[in-house]
Symmetry: C5
Subunit: 376 residues, 5 copies
Amino acid sequence: MPGSQPGTIVTDPNATETRIQVLSYDADHFSEHEVDNVDKLAPFLESDRMIWVDIDGLRDESTIRKVGEMFNLHGLVQEDIVNVHQRAKMEEYDDHLFIVARMVMLEDHLQTEQISLIVGDNFVITFQERPGDCFDPVRRRLREKIGIIRERGPDYLMYALLDAIIDGYFPVLESYGDQLNDIEDQLLSRPTSSVIARIHRMRSEFFILRKAIWPHREMVNALLRESTPRIRPETRIYLRDCYDHSVQLIDLTETSREIASDLRDFNLSQVSMRQNDIMKVLTVTATIFIPLNFVAALYGMNFDTKVSRWNMPELEWAYGYPFSLTLMLGTAISLLIFFWYRGWLGRDPTWQRVPQRRFLRRIRRHRQEREISDRS
Amino acid sequence: MPGSQPGTIVTDPNATETRIQVLSYDADHFSEHEVDNVDKLAPFLESDRMIWVDIDGLRDESTIRKVGEMFNLHGLVQEDIVNVHQRAKMEEYDDHLFIVARMVMLEDHLQTEQISLIVGDNFVITFQERPGDCFDPVRRRLREKIGIIRERGPDYLMYALLDAIIDGYFPVLESYGDQLNDIEDQLLSRPTSSVIARIHRMRSEFFILRKAIWPHREMVNALLRESTPRIRPETRIYLRDCYDHSVQLIDLTETSREIASDLRDFNLSQVSMRQNDIMKVLTVTATIFIPLNFVAALYGMNFDTKVSRWNMPELEWAYGYPFSLTLMLGTAISLLIFFWYRGWLGRDPTWQRVPQRRFLRRIRRHRQEREISDRS
Amino acid sequence: MPGSQPGTIVTDPNATETRIQVLSYDADHFSEHEVDNVDKLAPFLESDRMIWVDIDGLRDESTIRKVGEMFNLHGLVQEDIVNVHQRAKMEEYDDHLFIVARMVMLEDHLQTEQISLIVGDNFVITFQERPGDCFDPVRRRLREKIGIIRERGPDYLMYALLDAIIDGYFPVLESYGDQLNDIEDQLLSRPTSSVIARIHRMRSEFFILRKAIWPHREMVNALLRESTPRIRPETRIYLRDCYDHSVQLIDLTETSREIASDLRDFNLSQVSMRQNDIMKVLTVTATIFIPLNFVAALYGMNFDTKVSRWNMPELEWAYGYPFSLTLMLGTAISLLIFFWYRGWLGRDPTWQRVPQRRFLRRIRRHRQEREISDRS
Amino acid sequence: MPGSQPGTIVTDPNATETRIQVLSYDADHFSEHEVDNVDKLAPFLESDRMIWVDIDGLRDESTIRKVGEMFNLHGLVQEDIVNVHQRAKMEEYDDHLFIVARMVMLEDHLQTEQISLIVGDNFVITFQERPGDCFDPVRRRLREKIGIIRERGPDYLMYALLDAIIDGYFPVLESYGDQLNDIEDQLLSRPTSSVIARIHRMRSEFFILRKAIWPHREMVNALLRESTPRIRPETRIYLRDCYDHSVQLIDLTETSREIASDLRDFNLSQVSMRQNDIMKVLTVTATIFIPLNFVAALYGMNFDTKVSRWNMPELEWAYGYPFSLTLMLGTAISLLIFFWYRGWLGRDPTWQRVPQRRFLRRIRRHRQEREISDRS
Amino acid sequence: MPGSQPGTIVTDPNATETRIQVLSYDADHFSEHEVDNVDKLAPFLESDRMIWVDIDGLRDESTIRKVGEMFNLHGLVQEDIVNVHQRAKMEEYDDHLFIVARMVMLEDHLQTEQISLIVGDNFVITFQERPGDCFDPVRRRLREKIGIIRERGPDYLMYALLDAIIDGYFPVLESYGDQLNDIEDQLLSRPTSSVIARIHRMRSEFFILRKAIWPHREMVNALLRESTPRIRPETRIYLRDCYDHSVQLIDLTETSREIASDLRDFNLSQVSMRQNDIMKVLTVTATIFIPLNFVAALYGMNFDTKVSRWNMPELEWAYGYPFSLTLMLGTAISLLIFFWYRGWLGRDPTWQRVPQRRFLRRIRRHRQEREISDRS
């Protein structure tokens, strides 16, 4: 609400119920608990192990407020956590880093979910809007001690989570790439109007994607460049990788958008070409038959040939009918020659058949190449 | 007037009458007065409480001049206050900060109003063009001592006011978002020409919105970055939040503009597709019937069959009429096959019916998602 | 001429004849003279008053050369003064600042005029292409000692002149705004082709305006930022105002251009919609009547019913004529139902009548708002 | 060739034959020689006069190599000299500055030529692709001792040459401006399809121009800003002028491109308007006559009126023919009223006649203004 | 896979089999070996010669891991080598520089291949996706000791390889330039619809090219500017050349894209012009013949002239038939005059014949010029 007190926590009554999971670990130990009350987090905090508190669902205001008190979070941070429309950003506070990222999922349609990360001295807290995330591989790496993740501090865990979020965009973009290829195939074989609505819908979703991706680059860059002591130098090298990925994602999104625009233009060109073809058929038919029709109608007039010899003497010629047929044939042939000369009889649309198949094959090979070169 | 003396105060005779309200407070006290004369402000100034002077309506030149003298405002500041077409900006003077912001309202059509803020040692003055503003929640927070607002200085009050102004853009953008969704629904079910004018009007209003919003980012950033001692460090953290909001607003406005453009293009594509359909119906009908008509007209000619056996002997064949009907039927069927082969009989427009409903449902779900993700 | 000696003064023989006016003043005195010879400027220079030398018309090469010698102007400066196609710029020389600005006038069509300003220790020289300028209010302020202008140095006079030039763009942009509103009204009531040429012409003039305005911002910014001792700190505050105005002008020009583009697109959409309507009328009429015509032509054939009972027995049925009429009516009604189902009979164009009036009123109110918010 | 040794000199066998001219001068002396062998340059080098070696035609590899050895040019410099597709650039080497610029000529079509300049302690070498350049005024200034050119060092000569090259773009752009005006005239009087190809060709040439001009700004700026001791401070003031010109050129090119785009859009709008007119004529004619034709065909049917009184009794009415004529007339008039009401009879195209002339005159005046304001 | 351990090497099972080639050299010696096992590289490393290890095909994970251990490569570097969708980039590690570049080939369709370079103290390692590259000239220069390449260190070899990769883009762009010229020729002689698909395909490939080229500029710039001791000053001068080439490539790609867009627009304009022509033919024919047909149909009506003297007395006039013919002729001539006046009979399309040839010749000459000026 405009003008309301900063730090006001307005939870969405439709939000998912809150669920809290705690992972506590050091190089040698690992435990995983689900707690039903924030107060039960206290014993974990007191141990000297690293802990990761993962909070799903933002319906319960009191939980967030209690977590806020326990970990000393600024009022604005608490507000931003429940207000799930933040751009990706990084803010440094005395006691912790506050990071906002945005996860995407593509099931039937594109969905985004805000992930808030709090990085403290020996803990990482993550807030998610809904259950279901892309962190399972990270949990497995912790559980099964894969790689160095259990030996590093909270900055490395934060990197691992950010990396999982950012890498989660790639399958989504690949799926869009496949759809664009489908549409291209369809357009090459036969332009249909349903494609317009489909491209329109994709472009709407690209707006959402773009709005979600862009700020990540800035955010990762801030983590890289700012001299916060919370990010250790050996972690920075990994964040550089993360940064490269976010740049790649922006590249891919922009390219996809441009390809979608191109396909739309291509479709419109084809529609316009097709209208041309339709008009040509109409024009050729009408222009040839209208004069013929006129001749026929002429000799269908009922002037009385008996009255004078000026009244339609042709009707009584011995070869009147053959004469009129010849007249019509001559007219038709002249017009056909005229149209042929203009090039309106050239079967332009045939290109849509045989050569197109060949072209299609070629394009497909080229598309496979592109798919490979686009998958990252 | 070009070339006139700087600091000239030219009030608009159509402006609203001036009304002055004073809120005087400290952590323990609060009073609220309406004064009819600038001179009556003097006692408030002498007390050591914080005061907020809110001046509505800029018709009365002498009031502004007197306020200017009392608070020692530069001539250019006084000129900018009545000249209500400033871009949002921040200027530092010896005795005060001068801030211009722009409030929006959407009733029937989009309206904007310039708000000038003067931030001094222990006072904040606001000048508004018209009565009615978005500051009521701030007044309530002062009156009922909600949060820390009564304990902080003029910089925090300024932040609270700026925050209220900037957050006031969100409902406006949401309303435009709803309109865009309406238009999309309408376009998907049935393109109508009235949509063109509606989109055109929205785009005009987006120009106004964009012109109003963009400079706020710069202005808030200047407040954040410049090392003015008037903004205390603990307030800066709140201004950072304000800055994030203004960036979000710019994002939303740009996205809305792009969606509006997209809808316009989508509409035009559909119109062009529809014209294609219309042309196809005309072409198919005309192309089939014109040759038939020709055959009918041919046998309507009046050549005298008596004169020679070359003159329309068909007319006297026993099966002349069935022959001609067969000829016509054959022509029609050949042409139908030709058109079917070309794909012009494929009922393209049917997509607008059944599958579209399904698509519509899908899009609507997706839109709800977007609404949520766009509401901030 | 490419390759010619730098500092070459090539006056345009069509330029206006040169006219020199001197204003000499200090806080207490003021005199105003027209001199016919540059040499007569010497006595003014020797006094310790401020002088403003205003030179109109650039036809006379010797005058410019003599002024150049008297005030010690660099050869390139003299070249730039007569070469009236400079972009607005600021250059610092040892003895003076050299400033180029561009004035606009809109009479029948858009005209621009280069103003060169030389700011020295106690003098300001202005060179104008033609008589007639926007400096009269400044002259009046000097003559009648309005404000502080007579007490300040050459930098303040320069500011006053620049301010007059820049503020002179506002009425021009307002006039274009009015024209755009006119065009919008016209388009809403009835799209006409003359609008295309009018928008095209306006866009051409916007190119000129934009080219003229943009460099002013840079130039004023250079005056503000560069640490030249010729601009006193108390004048800088006024230049900041000037800078704000030039930014506003750029904003307004860009917005006007975008509105013009939008109107062009709007017009084209309406034309395309209208073509759709025209096509629909043609298609509906032709498609309904062509089959009817065919039936009529069919029964106009002259097959001899006497020869066999297969030859057009309908002609001799008792109810043959009613049968054929029923056939036609049935065909027509089926087709009308088909078209109604397709929505081609829906009177789309009616929107142009009643609701449009209402919309027009709404837009007009909104436009008044915009006019106000655009006037600065 | 990709991967070949850097510094490889691959001369174009089609290049012009090499021709060497030496100008040797100081304030008091001047001599001008054509030499047929690089070795003959040695005596000039040993004198303490300034020399300008002008080499035309790049066919002879050995010449370039010998010059390279004599003046100690880096291998990459030699490569760049013969590889005539460099962007304008400036590179500093120990013994000399290496500058690449691009000259334009417009004869029948646009041509560009790379000019390489080597600026040493007391020499300037220029390499040109072909004979014929824009340096004659510079040669004349040297020969006839016009201005200060003979008194200054190699940096001033370099400036004079660069200035000649950059100023050589102005006549080309003016010529394009004239062509654009021609096209506009033509479009206003009567849109023709040949204009499309002409605008298309101009736009292709603008791509070349733009590619040629843009890097010059950067290059001159590098000369201005970089602290190379080879450019004396008193020359920098002239380079600033050069920089202004290159900015003006970029402005002009961009504006010309935008005007060309605008003209293309204008033309397309007019074509679309015209198609509208054509369609209207077709629709009005067809829609009026098709029903009339139907009535005529109706009464051309041959139902036997003798068989029953239901069979076309109209044919035997006393006023059957006048009745049918009245029916047709009534139909025609109703349709005309309908079309008039729709506004399809309004003679839209007349605007192309009388008012257009008036508009044309106005535009022409405005164009003259623009021509003046564009010529620089 | 999102969330997987950083440094994970996931080789593509479809990748080419790994092949290792070692070139070992110093100023006096040169040897070239193919090894089948990474371990066999050890003896080369121990010698004090420079070595270049060229690894083709990335199928074999263990090879890459072993090379990583032997040369001490960071896990992320190993990941990036097999993950062949990196943007061109440069990263500095303690023991080596890591550079990613992208090679292009155009056979039938555009293909790209990632080249990873590791530059160490006395070695360069290159990883390629597939056999076949553009490094043969570099190998020959090493083998035959052409130029200074055998006397310089690994930085110079890296430069030579980068230069070969970047210069490899030029032939590709030239080939696209030729195709664009072909298309232009085709469009000028006769617009065909197949061109639309061809331009569309080229534009898709330009997206790939652009995505590949742009990051090279940044990467080379990083090599130039960053103060890494691995790049010796004498090599930097060569990298500057490389940088110039990458800027030229970007220029060329952007220009090609714009030309492709222009051609598409040009084609659409021509299609629209042609549709205009088609419509004109239809309109002129239909509008002339429809009234004639009406007159003929009129006098084909069967009103019984015997019943009254009002029933079609024309039929029995002595000159009824000549009268009707005159009526038709008059109508036709009036309509022809009307169309001629409107300019619809003007043989617009003729421009496509004679003048176009002339224009074509001119354009071709101009194109040759452009080809020359575009080849670099």
